[in-house]
Amino acid sequence: MAHPIAPNSWHRNREGLGIWEGRGKVVATGVGTSPTARRWDERPETSLGALTIIAIRKAIEDAGISPDEIDGIVLTPESTTGVSNDPMSPAPEGFDQVFKMVDFPQAGITRGDIDWILLNMPELKNVEFKMNGPVCMSVALTTAAEAVSRGLTKTCLVVRGWHNLAGRYYVGQGAAALNTSSGPGKYGGIWGMPACATTAMIFEEYCNKYGKSHEMMAPFVVEERRNGLMNPDGFYTQHRPEMITVDDYLSGRWIAKPANIYDNDLPIQAALAVIFTTPELAAHHAQKPVYILNHAQTRPELQGVTPTLAEWEASSDKMGRMLYEGAGIGPEDLSFEQMYDGFTLFHQFHLEGLRFASRGEKRGYALDLYQTDISIEGPNPVSPSGGNSGNGRTRWWHHRDCILQLQGRSPSQIKRKAEYGVSGAHMPNFCDALIWGAGPD
């Protein structure tokens, strides 16, 4: 069954809306993360669906609640940005011996599916509210925040899993995934360029405009790997506990110059589940509640088929203004910054749009900030989770760590007091983001 997505009116996508009506009325408590893998080995027990079930059970256990209390679920069905199976491919032999199957044969394999989850988790017997948060965990989080604040669900799972099949991930979306290019991708994605090429092009424009260089990215990439290696749930900690050096980073092969291979995040298999509820109900949860103070959304307003530097800057500036307006805080209140980093070369657009640690500067300062102490021990922690670059591609490590940081239990806990955080994904002009707080205001 196709489940609805949030109506456009739920998304805070323009300025002038004032303080968010749901501010302080929604909290996150439990967090569950599955084991990670580089690729799926085609065993049912390591599938996307299996990892999703593991993550959900861990989140419920972490929150210290009964599965009976879950009355809502918001899930991101898309589980890759790369090559996948044909949607109607049958499940591998034996899969249906382990899991109950719904009509859609790739459910639990290459696509997240609410009905499949509920069918295979009989303990979730009171789920009434079901909604998809398409494309990104960020959308699932903002959708669930609205749903709880509107009283549509009281204790809601927010879920996203990722699959990664054997073989090449992609070389140009259209070329590898399908025989023909369709949808919006037919305009910009048919030229066979690597996925990071647009980001590389705009990063180059950025460097030219502000007198910066690719080498200045090195401290950020190194710090992200350091933070990621503190996370026992991260891919690199579990499978490749290797610290990158500045020399390593600078020796990377160009994928689309000036984006090198280490500016690209590594596709993995993993799943995350988070519990959202009301502050009142959270009183009996095992974990400290983390308040959602606002959320906001940007979508591309392009003059052509590819974005420009000016468009990315305008869009991420708007994101910053919308987030602060609805949360009632300012850039100086942020204890840390965790915007998306996959690709590393666009992280600074998000960071500057938020004016994080700007010291009065508006644009072109982030790479200089990277040369200062951006560690978890320092005054301006940048991406303390390590993000995708430090943990593997999920688009949710940074969201997850905002909750853990403000609960005071992150494996890479910042040393300064954690009071307000921000996370969002994915592109600078296609982003859904949240302001998180240790308290309700």
Partner: protein, 120 residues
């Protein structure tokens, strides 16, 4: 004059991700027979070094995959060989003047025949 073999890691060596067919024992045997050996991979160089050290092998070189020309300029050898599992390996190897073998071809250790043909 030596022979030089460069191994890709992921999909080529048994400790790669995914594992390949070339075993540590094959690499060790080549080194004991006098081959210059090392890796050219997309794993970053310090990680490559650590992977070899963990297997108690002192390689002659580690480098990013696109640095094969640099390896060729650093070492004098009769033959240069790169073994990998992707078209990119083949492309970079041939561009750098290396012979190329696919990972599955390397499993037969064809380089051992070089010693016989060169009187080794």
């Amino acid at each position: 004059m030596a022979f030089l073999i460069s191994f890709d890691i992921d999909g080529t060596l048994e400790f790669g991700d995914p594992p390949g067919g070339i075993t540590v024992e094959m690499v060790r045997r080549a080194q004991e027979l006098g081959f210059l050996i090392g890796s050219c991979s997309d794993r970053f160089p310090s990680a490559q070094k650590a992977l070899w050290e963990a297997r108690d092998i002192r390689v002659d070189f580690v480098a990013a995959k696109h640095m094969l020309p640099d390896i060729r300029s650093r070492f004098e050898a009769v033959k240069y060989l790169h073994i990998g599992d992707r078209e990119l390996d083949q492309q970079l190897a041939e561009k750098a003047g290396f012979e190329f073998l696919w990972d599955h071809e390397g499993v037969a250790e064809p380089w051992l025949e070089w010693l016989e043909s060169h009187g080794g």
